[in-house]
Amino acid sequence: MLANLLLVLALAAGPAGVYNEGNRLYARKDYAGAVRAYQQALAAGPNADAGYNLGNAWFKSGKIGKAIVAYRRAWYLEPRDADIAANLAFARGYRVDKVLTLPSPLARGLDRALHFLSVREAAWLAAACFALAALSLSLWILRRWTAFLAAAAVLAVLFGLCLGSQQAWLGEVSARPAVVVVPEVSAQSGPGEEFKQILLVHDGTEVRVREARGGYLLVQLPGGSGGWVPKDAVEPVYPR
């Protein structure tokens, strides 16, 4: 009751006020109140810090799946933030279902390199590199100084890397990742209760949504197996 009143008061101070109020509730170990506050702060729009703190509050409330969703959203905005990466890995360690297939070190290295920049940074840098490459090329055309051509080539390579990073992020979003947010749910062979249960998945398991039909989603696990689960059992990382 008191927490709600404080939230109402903090609302007057805008999202930052609600966020700060959430921090106070978190410090007092009122994690449910903190979750509400951070959610209100995020209603204004995505923010990495608020998302990260929301993940912490969910984790402390024992909701591993919700915490993973919040951390992944924060990671999307701030992929180089060490706290977000650490807590995401920590929360993943508490899952009941273990990862079925581990990617090779090379694939993980490439993945980290492609996700070094956030999607906005990648888009910004790609455009800047392209513009500078075009400028260098133009100067080379007019002045024929080799240095300009070399600069144009380097900038073109940088542009390619940034574009690759941007595409990696877009691919990540279009893969429609989702996280199981209920303690336990059985995946069925069809979109309905009457179908055979084929898989039991637990809180925090990360899946890909491949199809939606009625109140059911066809989800796929990293290993390739999957099934239909009720819509409410999973939460998409990137809501559309």
Partner: protein, 620 residues
């Protein structure tokens, strides 16, 4: 009189048309009530102190050599001093022993004290041969009078037959009926719920009993009792009849409890306990005193449906920790050890005990303790259902595996339940538990290598307060696309400019053409300046030069040395439209005329000529 049946009681002998006095026999021998037979003889009346002298046996069918009892009863106002009766000669029987007892009963009837005494002499007898034997009359002399009982017939059979007993102990009905009794109204199955309105999850007790005024031989469920929509917990299941006398709606019934269950409704709404069906074999007694015993008649009895109103638990104020319990509970938590070495699992046992739907309580949510991995619990329940309700304990045993060394505090574990008596939710919590772990695998090498002591692991703390919270859109911005277009335009422009400057330096005609408009504008401005200075001669010279220069630059011709005719011919060759050619040559002609004949210069309108020239040059 030989009888083959042995189920129903019967009067073996009735003397002097007086009904048998069962009261005198009640309680003396209960083992063989069903096979009781009595013989009664009333003393002949005489004198003031009238007494009754009767004889009875506990069975009229006995096995050979089997003990049975002969009871001689003396009743009267003051018979305690009565002598022992003399037994007749019993040639066919052996007297095994005798005993006697006395009782006195004082009652007040219409203000008068009435004293009744009785003395019972019991003889143990056994038969010596098969067949129908007779116990001759017994005699008694008292206060100068002689009394005599009636003879009693005993049929002696082989031992096993004489011992036959009714199977599941049906008690006698309310007095042996003397005629066939209708089943209707005298036999029914009652199903009684302890409560008609309950909350979801709140147990109620259902009693099912067989109520009868008839004789029941045996019985069994027609179909297994089902309680749809309820969780049923057995309290009592009868394996034999145990009839108790009760008065229901003014009538005396023998009631035997068949089944008692605790029922826990699982969903709200109007629930109905469907009729339960029980099959009984009713023994219809003999048509008359000496007729055949009744056959047993199979009867199916059904209970009435019982309607239960199940109220949903209130949504208002339902705590997040609610785990489905309805009743009154307590919670406790224990750890089997306080310390774990080498990542050995500890056992965290949470027990919820109390009264209510213990079995339906779900596991409590445990807070995440960083550094401790708490696995799914092993769940056991120990439930005792009694007529007072359902009590029990539900035990959740969580294996706890430390992930890192350190001291841990497991915070209080909370559950909420609904208290139907208080009509409110209650939250209960355990005490916080402490434990410690040493030698956990992952952190051990770190301790040795760096000298750091790792005490535990936790998530990184939240980000600090913010002055303003910037919104970062999820989608990439649109403006890089504009930059891409502009950059492509820049490169295109560079390529064009490069080609342009190359041509300017190599192609003279192109260079003259590119320069022509700039030059003609300069010459026209010069002509305009002359006009403003009223220098008519200069004006016409400049105007003519502008036209000829422009034509030369535009078509790459050496016009300075050309005559009017040459110019006309060149322009026609270059396919310049005829009217343009005419206009241009007209202007050139006029300029020359004005330059060389000064008088004409004043007559003509130089302003109009200037405009014509500008328009004509724009045409080219």
């Amino acid at each position: 009189m030989t009888r083959t049946g042995d189920r129903a009681p019967r009067a073996a002998t009735a003397a002097r048309a007086r009904p048998a006095r069962r009261g005198a026999l009640a309680g003396r021998r209960t083992l063989a009530l069903g096979g009781l037979a009595i013989a009664l003889a009333l003393a002949r009346p005489g004198g003031a102190a009238e007494i009754q002298f009767t004889a009875a046996v506990d069975r009229t069918t006995v096995g050979l050599g089997e003990e049975f009892q002969l009871q001689l009863t003396v009743q009267g106002e003051d018979v305690l001093s009565v002598p022992k009766p003399e037994l007749p000669p019993l040639a066919d029987f052996t007297v095994l022993g005798s005993t006697s007892s006395q009782s006195t009963n004082i009652s007040f009837v219409n203000g008068q004290v009435k004293k009744q005494s009785s003395v019972v002499f019991v003889y143990g007898l056994s038969a010596k041969r098969l067949g129908t034997l007779v116990i001759p009359p017994c005699r008694l002399s008292y206060q100068g009078k002689a009394y005599e009982t009636r003879p009693i017939e005993i049929s002696v059979v082989k031992a096993a037959q004489g011992q036959a007993r009714p199977a599941p102990g049906p008690a006698p009905g309310p007095g042996p009926p003397s005629a066939s009794v209708p089943v209707e109204g005298n036999l029914f199955l009652s199903a009684t719920a302890s409560r008609k309105t309950v909350y979801v999850g709140e147990p109620l007790v259902l009693d099912v009993a067989l109520c009868t005024r008839l004789q029941i031989a045996n019985g069994g469920w027609a179909q297994a009792p089902a309680f749809d929509g309820f969780w049923a917990e057995k309290i009592y299941d009868a394996d034999r009849f145990d009839f108790q006398r009760r008065t229901l709606e003014g009538k005396a019934y023998d009631v035997s409890r068949l089944k008692t269950v605790a029922l826990v409704p699982l969903s709200p709404g109007e629930l109905t306990i469907k009729p339960l069906a029980f099959n009984v074999a009713v023994v219809q007694p003999a048509r008359d005193l000496f007729g055949f015993f009744g056959r047993s008649q199979a009867v199916r009895v059904e209970s009435k449906p019982v309607r239960i109103k199940v109220v949903a638990l209130p949504e208002a104020g339902k705590p997040a920790e609610f785990t489905g319990g309805v009743g009154q509970f307590t919670i406790s938590a224990t750890l089997d050890r306080r310390a774990s070495a080498n990542s050995e699992p500890l056992n965290l046992t949470v027990q919820v005990s109390g009264r209510g739907n213990v079995r339906l309580i779900e596991k409590p949510a445990l807070a995440v303790v960083p550094g401790l991995r708490i696995l799914e619990p092993e769940i056991k329940d120990d439930v005792r259902a009694t007529a007072e309700g359902v009590r029990g304990t539900k035990t959740f045993r969580y294996p706890v595996i430390p992930q890192a060394d350190g001291k841990y505090l497991i915070p209080p574990i909370r559950i909420a339940y609904f208290d139907p008596e208080a009509r409110a939710y209650r939250t209960i919590a355990t005490a916080a538990l402490e434990c410690s772990a040493t030698g956990s695998a992952p952190s051990a090498p770190l301790v040795e290598a760096t000298g750091l002591k790792v005490l535990g692991a936790d998530i990184a703390y939240i980000k600090a307060d913010a002055r303003a919270l910037a919104v970062t859109p999820l989608d990439p911005p649109w403006w890089p696309n504009a930059i891409y277009l502009l950059s492509l335009g820049l490169v295109g422009g560079a390529v064009w400019y490069h080609a342009h400057s190359q041509r300017l330096s190599s192609d003279r005609g192109y260079a003259r053409k590119v320069r022509s408009s700039r030059l003609v504008r300069a010459r026209l401005r010069q002509a305009e300046a002359m006009l403003r200075k009223k220098d008519a001669r200069g004006f016409y010279a400049a105007l003519g030069q502008a036209v000829m220069g422009y034509i030369g630059d535009r078509y790459n011709l050496e016009t300075q040395a050309m005559t009017k005719e040459q110019l006309q011919a060149e322009l026609a060759r270059l396919a310049v439209p005829a009217e343009t050619v005419a206009a241009v040559t007209g202007i050139v002609e006029q300029c020359e005329l004005a330059r060389f004949s000064p008088g004409l210069a004043e007559i003509q309108d130089p302003q109009q000529l200037f405009r014509r020239t500008r328009d004509a040059l724009a045409e080219i």
